[in-house]
């Protein structure tokens, strides 16, 4: 009987010890870090690092990488292209202007007004020039501190529904 009591006391002490050592232990989480804000990141001067052209059909079919994409950065004078986005004060709209001394094909109007808008779950960028307006996707959402910007220009059919067949990924770094 005495032995049973000793075992019970030891077991209870063990449980209490476990509670002290585990339940009160401070759990350390990694830092959340800077939040992603495409509208804040967009503002500023950007230098074009690369432009990659994609064949959506080849991507859809899972063809080899060399059939899916082509780096056309060196084919035209993209290494001299830069763009500046200036916030008009709303945080989601303003003006933009490309600098393109080598006359590299940009596919969008060289300057005009920009605005951000929601398209379902994703945010898109509207570039409205004097004679041309385009809707651009963000190729990737970067933080301001990443100093990077990725814009995607899509070329699509509109036969009832939108079917993209070519897209261009513009990869910028902050100037």
């Amino acid at each position: 009987m005495k032995m049973k009591i000793i075992i019970r006391v030891c077991f209870a002490a063990f449980i209490v010890l476990c509670l002290f050592t585990t339940s009160c232990k401070k759990i350390s989480y990694s830092e959340i870090g800077e939040s992603i804000s495409v509208e804040k990141n967009l503002i500023g001067n950007w230098k074009l690092d690369s432009i990659i052209q994609f064949d959506q059909t080849a991507v859809d079919k899972g063809f080899p990488a060399f059939v899916q994409r082509l780096n056309i950065t060196s084919i035209y004078a993209y290494n001299t292209v830069s763009v500046k986005f200036t916030d008009a004060g709303t945080g989601i709209a303003g003006t933009y202007a490309f600098v393109n001394p080598g006359n590299a094909p940009l596919f969008v109007a060289p300057s005009g007004n920009y605005s951000l808008f929601e398209n379902g779950a994703s945010q898109r960028l509207k570039l409205a020039g004097a004679a041309q307006t385009d809707s651009i996707d963000f190729g990737k959402a970067y933080r301001v501190s990443d100093n990077k910007l990725a814009l995607r220009y899509n070329r699509a059919f509109y036969t009832g529904s939108k079917k993209i067949f070519v897209y261009y990924d513009f990869n910028f770094s902050r100037n």
Binding site: Q56, G62, P105
Partner: protein, 299 residues
């Protein structure tokens, strides 16, 4: 004892509602873009017996189900009539024909290597086990000439590639050439609906300049850098243009240029050696010209 009997009854009932069946697909080897017919053999199963309708429930393992499964208010407990299988005669065998990319509303790359389905009754109280079929990958077939991208508009950057590794051995000079040039021509439709033709080539080809040809900035037979293909290495040469700009649509500098609003319907690109076989005074070589090939341009 009663409890044991009840347990056995539940076990038998659950086995019956989750039938093991055989299924086949025709053709047995297929890609995600091929039309296939799946045959469910439910012989000996209660599913499908007594004229019960049978429905397909398709999915990509590890990904997602077909929109046909549960869109428009339908679901596992209320099958879509469009998913109804066809009974073979008076047997308890059923077929369903589909093309995976269309049926799943996914690309071949998204579907990957497997397609799965099961057969069920309308309210989902009876079903087969999952049936998984292997999906063959789509294969890219290399060719001597190909455009990148495969579909483009006249305002896109397009690169016309020639792979010398696949070039006909009879093209001796072109095979041996370290520098490759092109000449090119287009068919186009003017805004008034009439057709047009326009060629851009070396100055020397042909000498008659009254036929719509254009020799960009050339007054001699010197090389035209605008017509030089880039050496991408390993025998691959590519020539990149933005068609509407290169063919000067709307440029009023010459009446040879297509008028504003013209739409290119076809581009032909001809690869050749540095020295044209048609230039007077240069070495003609029947092996220097690449095959002609034309690409329709999306409107």
């Amino acid at each position: 004892m009663k409890k044991i009997l009840l347990l056995i009854t539940i076990l038998v009932a659950s086995l019956n509602s989750f039938s093991q069946v055989s299924a086949s697909v025709s053709p047995s080897s297929f890609t995600a873009e091929d039309q296939i017919t799946i045959t469910f053999d439910l012989t000996g199963n209660s599913l499908g017996s007594s004229n019960e309708d049978v429905y397909i429930w398709g999915f990509v393992p590890g990904c997602c189900g077909s929109p046909l499964n549960d869109q428009n208010g339908f679901g596992f407990g209320n099958s879509n009539p469009l998913a109804k299988c066809t009974r073979i005669g008076t047997t308890n065998k059923f077929t369903f024909t589909l093309t995976p990319t269309i049926y799943m509303s996914k690309t071949a790359a998204q579907i990957g290597a497997q397609f799965g389905c099961l057969a069920k009754n309308q309210n989902g109280s009876k079903q087969t086990s999952d049936l998984i079929f292997a999906v063959d990958p789509l294969t890219f077939t290399p060719s001597v000439f190909r455009p990148f991208p495969s579909k483009f508009t006249q305002d896109d950057a397009v690169t016309f590639f020639m792979d010398k590794n696949l070039l006909n051995p009879s093209k001796v000079a072109l095979n041996a050439a370290s520098e490759v040039y092109v000449f090119t021509d287009i068919d186009y439709i003017k805004p008034d609906g009439t057709g047009g033709y326009f060629q851009v080539s070396q100055y020397c080809e042909p000498l008659n300049t009254g036929d719509g040809n254009y020799y960009p900035g050339q007054t001699t037979t010197a090389d035209n850098p605008a017509l030089k293909a880039k050496d991408f290495g390993n025998g691959l040469f590519g020539w990149t243009i933005i068609p509407s700009k290169f063919f000067r649509i709307g440029d009023q500098g010459s009446n040879k240029f297509p008028p504003a609003g013209s739409k290119i319907t076809k581009i032909k690109v001809h690869f050749r050696t540095r020295l044209s076989p048609y230039c007077p005074g240069t070495v003609g070589d029947s092996g220097s010209l690449g095959d002609n090939f034309g690409f329709p341009v999306l409107q």
